[in-house]
Subunit: 237 residues, 2 copies
């Protein structure tokens, strides 16, 4: 008798605080036969850490190890392999939950698995609290209001591209800061927006940092963010 | 003896499915002495509906009734009054949770209360799953990847503003559709992006709708969204 295929879940784990996981994500992960997650080649998987208390002792764990420094080609081979392994579990009738920091489809790596598996299996997505909204909460100020244009930019983009996009928006988030912090500070200073720019790292975690961009520490992590809101508190009235 | 001030929470309830509420939001609302929420002058409060099973029987409920058709001035008077009522409860030492659909700071009305209260009381934000990421999950496709520029636009903006912003981005979300659906369809057709545009309404709810924008129903609700991703599946490789 052919086994019923297992179910595949793309699970957003939220920004870091295990209490900012949705009730659905918590339930699905606690019930999953297999729990997969991205992991660095050294150290802990952040998404696994967030969900540690939900994962069943009987669950099979499937770390997807992405070397920190890797070109596109080896990364693609790793996702090919991970997709094969996940498919093998699904064919055994096992449910697989893939953990994704923040939200799975907001600049996440889950899409690489989704692209490989969506034609063969039904995928259920469980959206999560994104770092974007978590950072606004940490900074205690609106991300965007009314008919504001909100634009999300990645710091590795060129100054020209960033500048044009910042000009066209009322509210801006610059993600993937890391080693680009210095250049971003220079750019935002040139645009005269330094007073409206906030730096946030590790939103929702005990070591969360929120401060004016001018005061940001030199060693900004990759998962830190700048939020810019133009105008002086236009949301009061 | 002076009472300790109660605590004020801005609580994101997520897009609609009560299981997409975070564990923290569920706990805080279940423990709150007072639960406030926006409500229409006719019918049910959506955020209260989402949290119905969490609200304690002993909780005081404080609906903030915003008439459907209202100018800015009456709305401001309503928020003034709501802020006063909330402050009175806090001064009695009662904890107050204010419910907000989606995320409280992503185009939400919580900012009007925050602006009125933040100087007098400590506010704790609980970010939520936004309609933005919930819609991408419903559509089963990435919101944005790698260094894509992601722009969120409100449908009431002028065609000129929308067109310029759409040109400058790889990924676009158009929110607050409602009666603007027709105009948005025309604009997106003119821009040659109809094949990449998806319509989503009521993401995460049983009556969720996901379809090509060309097929969207005439009566799009205010809380529906268009997602556009340029290029043909650029996220596969």
């Amino acid at each position: 008798m052919a086994k019923t295929m297992g179910r595949l879940f793309g699970v957003g784990t939220g920004p870091g605080d295990p209490e900012l996981v949705t009730r659905k994500a918590w339930r699905v992960v606690s019930e999953a036969d297999v729990v997969a997650y991205p992991a660095p080649d050294h150290g802990h998987s952040f998404s696994r850490q967030i969900m540690a208390d939900a994962i069943s002792e009987d669950a099979i764990e499937l770390p997807i190890v992405i070397p920190m420094i890797s070109g596109r080609a080896p990364a693609q081979a790793i996702y090919d392999d991970a997709a094969d392994q996940i498919l093998a579990h699904l064919k055994k009738g096992q449910d697989v939950a893939v953990l994704c920091e923040g939200d799975p489809l907001f600049y996440g790596s889950f899409m690489y698995l989704l692209a490989r598996l969506r034609d063969d299996v039904a995928v259920e997505m469980i959206p999560g609290v994104s770092s974007l909204v978590a950072s606004a909460s940490a900074a205690l100020r609106p991300l965007a209001a009314r008919s504001d244009i909100l634009t999300v930019l990645a710091a590795p983009l060129s100054d020209d591209k960033l500048e044009a996009a910042i000009h066209g928006a009322e509210a801006v988030a610059i993600i993937k800061l890391g080693r680009h912090l210095d250049r971003m500070q220079g750019l935002i200073r040139r645009l005269g927006l330094m007073d409206q720019a906030i730096y946030i790292s590790h939103a929702s975690l005990p070591h969360q940092k929120v401060m004016p961009l001018a005061d940001a520490p030199d060693d900004a992590p990759y998962f830190s963010m700048i939020l810019i809101y133009k105008g002086s508190d236009p949301w009061i009235n």
